[in-house]
Amino acid sequence: MNAYRLAALLAVGAVLPAPTFANPYETTLANGLRVIVKEDHRAPTVVHMVWYRAGSMDEKDGTSGVAHALEHLMFKATKTLKSGEFNKRVAAAGGRDNAFTSRDYTAYYQIVPKEALPEMMQLESDRMSNLVLDPKEFASEIKVVMEERRMRTDDNPQALTGEAMRSVIFQAHPYRRPIIGWMNDLENMTWQDAREWYRQWYTPNNAYVLVVGDVDHREVFKLAQKTYGGHKSHALPVRKPQTEPEQKGIRRVSVKAPAKLPYLALAWKVPKLMDVRKDREGLALEVLASVLSGHDAARLAKRLVRETRVAQTAGASYDGTLRGEALFFLEGQPGDGKTVAELETALRGELESIRKDGVTAEDLARIKVQMIAAQVYKRDSLVSQAMEIGGFEAVGMNWRDIDLMIEQLKTVTPDEVQAVAKKYFSDDTLTVAVLDPQPLDESQPKPRGFAGRH
């Protein structure tokens, strides 16, 4: 590391036009709906999002996947719009729209020329309480969801392994269920399940609106009052903690599926990162993940892929900022001629080397540089900025925590990283998952060509 260069870079970080003024801006309507606006005047475009704090973790056994199924149904008819009209209106405005469901939340967005923002707010407001759930539309759309499950999970060996793994990691906590839902639950889901979900969770006091782009926040606040202000809020179902009991012993799971390369994942239960001022262990875990695989020169790729070649691919990840429980993952595919066992030993060996020898000041300096650069680069994308704010708000944190977390991450010391490496990676809280590759039927695919009409 060139110390002079780093010093210069840190100085750059300090003089960037940091958003220390009030941007973003926020307000809360009388019905409990939060509205957050980040002004960015580079281009005449706007991202508009509505996030609901209801995700797959809020579902019950037997109706897994209903949060995501409802997300699909939100594009159907409302009391004022015909089915399909929502997408048509967004397209006519020159925009794009979509939605996504996670364990913690469900979110909807439109990216539009700024002139179209009022219409988008009107459209989102409409489906916040006017959705019409029709049995026929449901029957057709649930088939689409099943196709989505086949594509993303059933025919994707790594995803299938990940799904099985989560169901073993968690026994009580709802994170054990897949977001898309078990196939049998989808097959037995009814339109009334979707209606029940919509009635329970889609209320302004469980939602927030995000607007990022070329707008005046005062205008947006006025519009928000006009479009969303009329919704009545209601009480939410009780959310029980469903805390996972302490794991007492290693768990292993394997999945057989058609593939050539095995895949290995190791997950430990670790603390969360929710209070950026106090959760020092969460901050240290975040830094640990970066030291292992946060950049091109990080340890796993350098040692396991390039030096020893024990891995074809290797990575580490930690997500501690979530509503449920946190995990630290190591994963990879073995290199040519290497076994899953050798890869597991090598991945654990990297943790062991940090437990024993710690990390260096140079390791941490590199990560700081990455964080500073990433903070600048993310400003080139309205969507990245909106997603970041949305993700923090979804777990009950605040957009103010974004910059604060980065500042706090910069204060993590080598000792703190070594301490979490020593404390949290015992076998007793570990789950190991392996994809056990199976040959395709009839060994290799054989072209069965014939000419003719399809």
Partner: protein, 433 residues
């Protein structure tokens, strides 16, 4: 996260307009003393600089028997250069906060840099980029390792239904043509270090290079950067030349696989970059299968019948006619029914084109939505490099709304009838019953 898929590939391929328009930015063009063509947009709002160099060094330029050579040459550039080994290069890059990007496609190979524009970071990362482009050493031990990793990835892909389908689809659309060739275990095994050195010397010349620059630098600085990055490149003058394409005969290929869904690809070689029918096809495809949720294919296959999560169509223009493709995945026992629906939609569209109402909706989305596709430096860089590499007019971006507006129903109908000829359509179904 589950994202409802939206495929706007055709629109993504190339739609451009003025700039971060409100900032009053414009494209500047010049030829560097080295002979490299340079395209530049100055925008000082963010302290970021993006530079990309495109070379006529895509897969089409390697011998078929050595397919994979273009990707390996490109991939090894930053694994040894000048006096630096791959770990030193990675460390230097990381220490400046910069990112390298790029890929080898069929026609071109791109090498990109995103860096902070502050002088010390910028100077250090540009010098690193210059070194890896001008003095690559192609270390033998790295080549051996990367060949092994490529082969493992090829073998893994040969088990995945969508990869199998894509590979077979390319081969069936372009029999005997380099556009139809994809790397195999044998072809990658045969690649030697000398091949990389020779390919680099012949394809990474300054005179064939297109330098795209956008961000927080002045014209004078951009000129110096373009010169710095290209003056050490190999000598030579290698233009992009690709053998002509012959359309295939209509065929259907079925491939066994245990997957729960059939993966279906339908298409043919359809359109070259410089084809005058580009706009009628682009605008028409919005209605057929490019317009995401509002396209006819989406309505008929997904919304009405629940056959598929994702169904789309796109044109991917290349130097020689690139593919038109319709794709979908569906539960295997309904694959034939889904294909029948696609066939009906396509037949109807080729015969009649869009309705006047559909055409108006397509134009409105493409013209009004232009700003969305130009609202970041990263997006603009993509348009700069494509305009530069394929020699599109500098006014392409400014002309875009008028060109879209001018398209008529009859032009769409006639362009589809001419380019999407059913007697040449190739269908590949993996995991067919």
């Amino acid at each position: 996260m589950m994202i409802r898929v939206i495929k706007l590939l055709a629109l993504i391929v190339l739609v451009g307009a003025a700039s971060l328009a409100s900032a009053g930015v414009k494209i500047q063009y010049w030829v560097a003393p080295t002979g490299a063509k340079v395209y530049f947009i100055e925008t000082r709002v963010l302290p970021i600089l993006d530079v990309q160099i495109d070379f006529p060094a895509g897969g089409v330029h390697a011998p078929n028997a050595k397919s994979g050579l273009a990707g390996l040459t490109h991939g090894l550039l930053d694994t040894g250069a000048g006096k630096l080994d791959e770990e030193q290069i990675a460390a230097r890059l990381v220490d400046t906060g910069a990112i390298f990007s790029g890929q080898a496609e069929k026609d071109r190979a791109s090498f990109g840099l995103r860096t902070l524009s502050s002088k010390s970071e910028r100077d250090a990362s540009l010098e690193l980029m210059r070194t890896v482009l001008s003095e690559p050493t192609f270390p033998a031990h790295v080549l051996e390792r990367e060949k092994t990793r490529s082969i493992a990835a090829i073998q893994e892909a040969a088990t995945k239904p969508d990869s199998i389908a894509s590979k077979r689809f390319a081969a069936a659309m372009y029999p005997g043509h380099p556009y139809g060739v994809t790397p195999s275990v044998e072809s990658v095994t045969s690649v030697q270090r000398d091949d990389l050195v020779a390919f680099y010397k012949s394809r990474y010349a300054a005179k064939g290079a297109v330098v795209s620059i956008i961000g927080d630098v002045s014209r004078a600085e951009a000129e110096a950067i373009a010169q710095q990055l290209t003056e050490g490149l190999p000598a030579g003058d290698h233009a992009l030349t690709v053998a002509p394409v012959t359309k295939p005969q209509q065929t259907t290929i079925k491939i066994d696989h245990p997957a729960t869904q059939s993966h279906v690809h339908i298409g043919l070689p359809a359109i070259a970059r410089d084809d005058p029918d580009y706009f009628p096809l682009l605008v028409g495809n919005y209605t057929l299968g490019g317009g995401g949720f509002v396209s006819r294919l989406m309505k008929e296959v997904r919304e009405k019948r629940g056959y598929a999560y994702s169904v789309y169509s796109y044109f991917a223009p290349r130097k020689q006619p690139g593919p038109f493709e319709i794709g979908l995945q569906t539960k295997r026992d309904q694959a034939q029914a889904a294909i029948k629906v696609v066939d009906e939609v396509l037949t109807e569209f080729i015969a009649k084109g869009p309705t006047a109402q559909e055409l108006a909706a397509a134009k409105k989305n493409m013209i009004d939505g232009l700003a969305l596709r130009l609202d970041s430096n990263a997006k603009l860089l993509g348009y700069l490099s494509t305009i530069g590499f394929y020699g599109l007019p500098l006014t392409y971006i400014d002309d875009f709304p008028a060109k879209v507006r001018a398209v008529t129903v009859e032009q769409v109908r006639s362009a589809f009838a001419q380019h999407v000829t059913k007697e040449n359509l190739v269908t590949v179904i993996v995991a067919a019953d």
